[in-house]
Subunit: 456 residues, 4 copies
Amino acid sequence: MRRLDDGGVADLNIAYIGGGSRGWAWKLMADLALEPQLCGTVRLYDIDREAARRNELIGNKHASAANVKSVWRYTAVDTLEQALTGADFVVISILPGTFDEMESDVHAPEKYGIYQPVGDSTGPGGIIRAFRAIPMFIEFAQAVKAFAPDAWVINYTNPMSLCTRAMYEAFPQIKAFGCCHEVTGIKALLCLAVTNILGEDFPADGEVEINVQGINHFTWVDKAAYKGADLLPVYGRMIEEIDFRDPANPLSKQFGANAVKFDLFRRYGVIAAAGDRHLVEFLPPWYRKNPEEVARWGYSLTAVADRKKGLAKRLEKSDALASQTEPYQLGFSGEQGVQQMKALLGIEPRVFNVNIPNSGQIANLPLGAVVETNARFSHNSVVPLQAGAMKREVQSLVAHVVSVQETVIEAVFTADKELGFNAFLNDPQMVIGLDDARALYEEMITNTKAYIPWLP
Amino acid sequence: MRRLDDGGVADLNIAYIGGGSRGWAWKLMADLALEPQLCGTVRLYDIDREAARRNELIGNKHASAANVKSVWRYTAVDTLEQALTGADFVVISILPGTFDEMESDVHAPEKYGIYQPVGDSTGPGGIIRAFRAIPMFIEFAQAVKAFAPDAWVINYTNPMSLCTRAMYEAFPQIKAFGCCHEVTGIKALLCLAVTNILGEDFPADGEVEINVQGINHFTWVDKAAYKGADLLPVYGRMIEEIDFRDPANPLSKQFGANAVKFDLFRRYGVIAAAGDRHLVEFLPPWYRKNPEEVARWGYSLTAVADRKKGLAKRLEKSDALASQTEPYQLGFSGEQGVQQMKALLGIEPRVFNVNIPNSGQIANLPLGAVVETNARFSHNSVVPLQAGAMKREVQSLVAHVVSVQETVIEAVFTADKELGFNAFLNDPQMVIGLDDARALYEEMITNTKAYIPWLP
Amino acid sequence: MRRLDDGGVADLNIAYIGGGSRGWAWKLMADLALEPQLCGTVRLYDIDREAARRNELIGNKHASAANVKSVWRYTAVDTLEQALTGADFVVISILPGTFDEMESDVHAPEKYGIYQPVGDSTGPGGIIRAFRAIPMFIEFAQAVKAFAPDAWVINYTNPMSLCTRAMYEAFPQIKAFGCCHEVTGIKALLCLAVTNILGEDFPADGEVEINVQGINHFTWVDKAAYKGADLLPVYGRMIEEIDFRDPANPLSKQFGANAVKFDLFRRYGVIAAAGDRHLVEFLPPWYRKNPEEVARWGYSLTAVADRKKGLAKRLEKSDALASQTEPYQLGFSGEQGVQQMKALLGIEPRVFNVNIPNSGQIANLPLGAVVETNARFSHNSVVPLQAGAMKREVQSLVAHVVSVQETVIEAVFTADKELGFNAFLNDPQMVIGLDDARALYEEMITNTKAYIPWLP
Amino acid sequence: MRRLDDGGVADLNIAYIGGGSRGWAWKLMADLALEPQLCGTVRLYDIDREAARRNELIGNKHASAANVKSVWRYTAVDTLEQALTGADFVVISILPGTFDEMESDVHAPEKYGIYQPVGDSTGPGGIIRAFRAIPMFIEFAQAVKAFAPDAWVINYTNPMSLCTRAMYEAFPQIKAFGCCHEVTGIKALLCLAVTNILGEDFPADGEVEINVQGINHFTWVDKAAYKGADLLPVYGRMIEEIDFRDPANPLSKQFGANAVKFDLFRRYGVIAAAGDRHLVEFLPPWYRKNPEEVARWGYSLTAVADRKKGLAKRLEKSDALASQTEPYQLGFSGEQGVQQMKALLGIEPRVFNVNIPNSGQIANLPLGAVVETNARFSHNSVVPLQAGAMKREVQSLVAHVVSVQETVIEAVFTADKELGFNAFLNDPQMVIGLDDARALYEEMITNTKAYIPWLP
C-alpha cells in the first residue's frame, strides 16, 4: 500500500474469497473502479477456480469502462495463501455448499408447516447452513492468522452473525466485521417520512441519524432523528397515512408492503430494520403459519429453483460481459464496502452499522455474541458506538436467537451433533412436536452432509 | 412473641390471608399443632368470611387432637388491618378469582390447540391469572407496609414468581418469599437413585445436597451430591435402568412416569425439578401438541371441573371436621412453612429453596426478577446461596419466561392492556398465528374481567 | 432557531451563565464571531451583574471587529429564567465563590505539607470547591429543567466531573456534558512525535486518532494511531530522544517539561493526557512531597495571589476593550465549544472527548460516575464511543478518585458533613494523620463557609 | 476414607505442608485428637525435614494424652508427592522464607517512616513476602493437580488472599480456601454487647449472625443480629459506654483497646473485623504516622526479634513435648479447620467465613479476586452466601488493596519486576516520594532475593 499526495492510496491489496456467484463480486468491482482515491490489486480465490478466472477477466475489463475512475488489476489465484499474503483487506462472499443444499435448507421444513422466505440467516435453514459455513470460516480465520493477521476482513456471507462469530472464535485477534445493507433500507423509509410527512426536503446523507441495536437481519432502531427532531412518531404517522399495500400506490412498488415491519412497530414502538422476509424468520409462526398467511402479509417465499435460475442468468451475463468489446457504463452498487475501506485507511472516517462481537455496546445482550450496531470507522479502527439497552420485549426476541446462535457455535466447534439439535430445537421457528423436530433435523443433515465434515 | 427457656417461642402471631379453599390452611394448622417449640395465635382473613370462620372452628378444634403438641388460637378477622397488626409472619394462600375464571384460564386456549395441564403458573392461563392476582398482591404488600412492615411474608399462591415479584414492586423493603415443594420431589427421586442404583441406605435428611437454579416450577438442578459423590450420572443410570412407565412397576405408581423430566435430562444433562405437568407449560408445544401427545408422555390434563369437585369434597370434609367430636390424629403435611418459621426465629437455621428477587444468586438471569435458588434461613434473615450461572441452553428457556413475567408486571403496574398482549404473545406456548393470539387474549380477558380492575 | 439554506443556523439562542472572570466568555465570543454558519443571541447571566453588563458591551462590540464573520447580539439579563427561556444551548463557566475561598482551597493544606499546583479539580482544594459549586449546579439544573429542558448544557467549570455529575443527579434527563481541552494538548505532543520521530508531515486534523479513558484532568490514552500506525512506541521513543527539560531546547518552551507525564508513561505504558500540574494532584505525594520535589519535576505551584493579579489584568483589559473605538482582529480560542454546537445542530458531526455519566463506555469504572471518553456528536445527540476497560494499575488510581467524588456528591445532596469528611480523608492526597486531616477539614470549611449553604 | 456407622469417618488422609514453626501444627494435632468422629493419618511434609520428624513424634504421642478421643497416625515424608498422594485434605501452613527475610519485610520500611505492626498481609512487607510465597504456592497447586486433584486444600499461610489466589491461578479447578480466625474475634465482641449492653444471656453458638464482606484481615461486618435484633446500634452503644482503654477495666485486658476498630466504626457505621494491628496496615498512615501515634492508638509493633524468641520457645517446648513421658491434657485450639473438614465430609454442614475467588458473592469487588465472606460448607461443597455490595467508602479502601494484590499476582506470574514495583507503589502505605519508594523496593528485594527465584 502506498499513500498518494491527494490522500488516496495506491497499490492496495485486496483478497476476495468466493464471488463465484458473481453478484457481490461484480458490485465490488464496479465500486472499486468508480473510486478515484484507491487503486491496486484484487486477488480472487474461489473453490470454483473457473469462476475466479471468469471474474478475473471481467474485473480487468472494467479498466476500459466508459466512466472508470481507477484501474485495478485482478488475478485469480489457486490457494488461500496466495490470496491472503500481503492483503490489506479480505472480502469474503461465499455460498456454503451449492443450491442443492440450499434447497434442503429452505424447503425441507415446509412439510412440517415451517415456511422460510429466505432460509439463510436463522431458523432450521440458517442453522444447517451454519453447520456447513462455520468450518469454512474457521479455515478462513486460520489462514488469515497465518498469512494476513493485520488485514481487515469484511464478510458478506450469511448467516452473517454466525460466520463472523466463528472467525472470532477461531482467531480472537482477527479484525473482522460483517457488513449488511438492510439498515440502509430503513434509512430510506425514514427519509420518505421526512419528505412525505414532515414535508421537508429529501435529507442529505447523514441528516437522518439512527441508533441500531440487535443482530444481523433482526436489527432494531430505537432512536431516529432528522435535524434533531424525533422521527419515531413521524414514522408512526407515515405508516397510518400511506397505504403501502395498495398496488396503485407507487410507493408500495418502491418500498414494498412492509406489513410485518409496520405491525411490529405498532406493537413495540421501535422499528425493525430488515425486510419482512427476514423478520418473520426470527419469530414464532406469527406471520408464517401457512402460505395464505404469508400472502396476507404481502411478502413472498422464494423457491430455490428461482435462485438457480437467477444464478444461471448471472452466469450468462458473465459470459457476455467477459466477451463484450464495447465500452460500457459502470454503476455504483449502493453497498458500503469501499467506503468502509476508505474509512479504515483514514481517508474519510465515518459511522457504519456493522456486525462485531459485543463488548458492551448493547448492554443487555451477552458479551462476545456478534451484534449489529453503529461503529465509527477510522484509521485502522472500528469502535462501536454505545447503543444502550434494548427494550425488554424486543431484547427477549433477540436474546432467544442469540442463545441459539451461541449453541450452534459450541456444537460445531465441539463437533457435537446432539448439542446442535438443542440449538435447532430451541429456534423460535421450531414449534412442531419433538419427534417431528428430530425427524426434520436428521433429514436436513442427511441432505447436506457432504458439506458437514465435523459430523461423527 | 415471647422466647421460652427451651429456645422455643410462645405468643407467636401469624396472619393467614386466604385459606378458603381449605387445602393449604389445613396443612399449616396440622404442622403448627405438631410443632412443640411454637405456639400462639393465627388470625384468619379471607374475602370469603364464612370460609375463614369455618377454618377458625377447625383450627381451634385441633387443640383436642390425639397427638397435639402445641395449642394455637385461631380467630377469623374482618380486615387485613386486623389480621396484620402485630403479625410476626404472614402466610398468603389465595385463589385469585374463582374456579370459573380458572376454567377460562385452563380451557379457553384449548380451542387453539394449546393444552395446559395446570394453567396457573405460566402460559396464557398463568398470565391471565396473574392479571387478577397481581392487584391483590399489591394490596397485600401495601397492607403489610402499613400494618406489619417487619413481618416475614410467606406466599404459597400461584403464579408464585409473579405474585412475589408484585409484592417487591409495591413495597421493595418487604421481607417476602415464595415457597414451593416441587424441589422436595426431585430430592426424593435422587434418594431413590442412592438406594436403587448405588445400593446405599436411604439418605438421611441433608445427605443429598443439590444446587437449585431457575424460576418457580421451572427450576433446574445442575449439581447433586450424596456424601460428596456426584449424583447426576447416578440419576442418568437410574432413568435408563428403571422403567417408570411400566404400570407393573410400583415405583411408577409412587413417583410417576416423569417421561418429560427424563427426556429433558437426556437432552440437557441437568435435572428439571418440577413435575411434568408444570414443565411442559414452560416450553413450546414439544410435549403438548395434542391430547394424544400428552397421553404418550404419560401425564394428564386436569379439567377444572375436577378441581371443582375436589373443592366440594374438601368443603364437605370441612363440615365433618368442624362438627366431629371424637379425638383424631394429625399428620405432618410435608410442607416446609413451619420449619422456615423456626429457622427465621433462630431456633434452627437451615437451607431451603425459595423464590426471591435475584440479587446475583443466578449470574445469568436479570437482577430483580424473582428466581428460585437455595437460601440460608437464620435469625430474621434469608440469604441466597450463590447458585452460579445456568447452562446456556436451559438459561435460554428460563430467560424467555422471565422476560414474559417482567413484561406482565410492567403491564399490570402501568395498566397497559397492549403491553399485556406483548407478554401474552411472547409466551413460549403462543405459537398460534397473530390473529388467533389476539382473539384468544380478548376472549380470556373478557371471561375474567370481573377480577381485572386495572383494565381500561 | 432557524435553518439557513447553506446548512447554517440563524437566531440561535445561547444562555451564558457566569463569565464574570472574562476568560472563557471572551473565548466563546471570539469563536462565535468567527463562525460563519451560526448567528443569534447570547443572554448573559452572572451573579455579578456588572460583569455581565460589561461582557454585553464587549460582545456587541465584536460585530465591528475587522475579521468578523457573524454578528451576535449580547444581552445581560437579571435572572436564570430570563437567560434560559428559549435557550438552545447553555454555557456554564462560573467561579464557585471568590478568589478568597480559592486561596483557602489551594494554600490552607500547605501547612500540612500538601502542595496543590491548581487545587480546583481534586484533593482537599477540589473537594471544598465542590462543596461550594455543587449547590450552584443543582440550582442551574433545576432552572434548566424548568425553563430549557431540551437545551444542551456545556459546562466549563471545575471541578468538571463533580459539577456535571451534580446536574445529572438533580435532573437526570439533562443533556449536559463537561468540556475540557487538556486532551487537545496530548494530541499536539503526538503530532510532534509524528513529525520529529517518524519524520512525517504534520498530521492533518483527525489523522491522529486516540482512545480516551478516565475522568477529567486524569484522562489516559491507551491507543494512539497515525494513519493506522501505533503511536505509543513512537511516543516512547520521543520522550527518550528529546530532552524536554533542557531550557535550550525550544520544544521545552513550547510543550513544557512534562516530566511527570513521561514518568507515568514509563511506568504504565499508557499516556496521561492532562498537564503535570493536574496529574500530580490525583496521586499520592509521589511528586509533591515538598516544594523542592515540585521544582525537581519541573512544574510550578500557582499562588492564588497571582491569579488575583491575572484577574485584575483581565478586568483592566475589559475596560479597555469596552471603550476601544478602533477595529481589531479576533483570534480563534482553540476551544471546541462552537464546533460542538455545530455538530449538535447537525451541521458537522464529529468526535470530541467529553465528560458524561458512564453508561458502560468505560467497562471497569462505576456506572453513573462522570467519565471522560470520546463521543460522537451529531444532530441533537452525544453517543459515547466504547473506550473499553482501563489498564488495571491505572484503573485503580482513577477508581479511587471516582469513589471520592461519588462520596462528595452523596455528602452534599444529603447535607452530611461527616460523610464529606469521609470523602476528604479518602482522597489520595490525604496522607497526613487523622487528627491533622480533621483539623484541616474544619479549617477549610470555616474559611469558605459563606458559600456552603448546606452545612448544618 | 471409610464411613463409620455413627456418621464419622475413619482412615482419613491429611497432608500437612509446613508446620515447622510448630504453632499451627500443634493446634491441628490437638483438635484432631479431640474429635471423636474422625481418625486417620497425617503425612507431614516440611522443607525442614527435621521439623517434620519432630512433629511426627509429638503428633503420635498425642495418642496417649489423658483426654484423647481419637487416635491419629503421623508420618513425616520427604516429598510433596508422598504427602499428597491419596490425601483427602491438604493443610498448608508455611513460613515463606525465614525470620531474617521477615525482619526485612517488617523493619526495612521503618527508616522511611512506614511502621507495620505485622507486615505479613499487605503493605511493603506483605508484598515482598508474597513475592516469596507465591512461587511456593504455585508449586503446591501444581503438586495438588498432579497428586490430589480432588482434595480440599486449607491454607493458613499469610498473605492469605495472595497465597490462595496464586493456587487458583496455577490450577483453576483446585478446591482451596483460606481460613482465618479474625472474624471469630468480632463475634466475641458482639456477644459482649449482647450481655453487657442488652443484658441478655451469653449467646449460644450461632445465635449471633453476621454478614462478612471484604478481604482477609480487612473484612467488614455490615449486618449483625442476635435473635433477629440488629446488633450494630448495640455495638455502637457499647463502644461509647465501655472504656476499653482503661487499664483498670478487665474487659480491656480481655479484648484489647480496639481503638482503631472503634474509630472506623464511628466513621463508617460498619465494623472492621480484624484486630487493630492488621487494620492499620491496609490504610494510609492515618494511624501509623510514627511510633507515638501507634502508642496513642493503643496497639503495638512487633519486633521480629520477639518473633524469633517466640519460635525458640516453641522449639524448646517441642523438645520437652517430644520427650515427655507423663500423660497430659489436650486443649481445643479455637481454630475451625477440623470443623470445616467435618462439614466437607457431610458430617455437620455449617457456615464459616472463608477466602475464595469472588464469583459474585461481593457485588462490587472484581470477579476472580480472593474475597472473604460467609460460605456454606457441606458434602464436598463450599458455596458462598451472597454478601451483597460493600458500602462505597469501605469498598473504595478494599478495592484499592485488591487492585494491588491482582497486580502482584500478575507481576509474579509474568516475572515482571517493574510491574511488581507498580503494585508496591500503589499500596496505601506507600506515601513516601517516588525515589524513596524505589530505593525501599530495591533494598527489600535485595534483602530477600534468595527466596525470589523469578527475579531476572
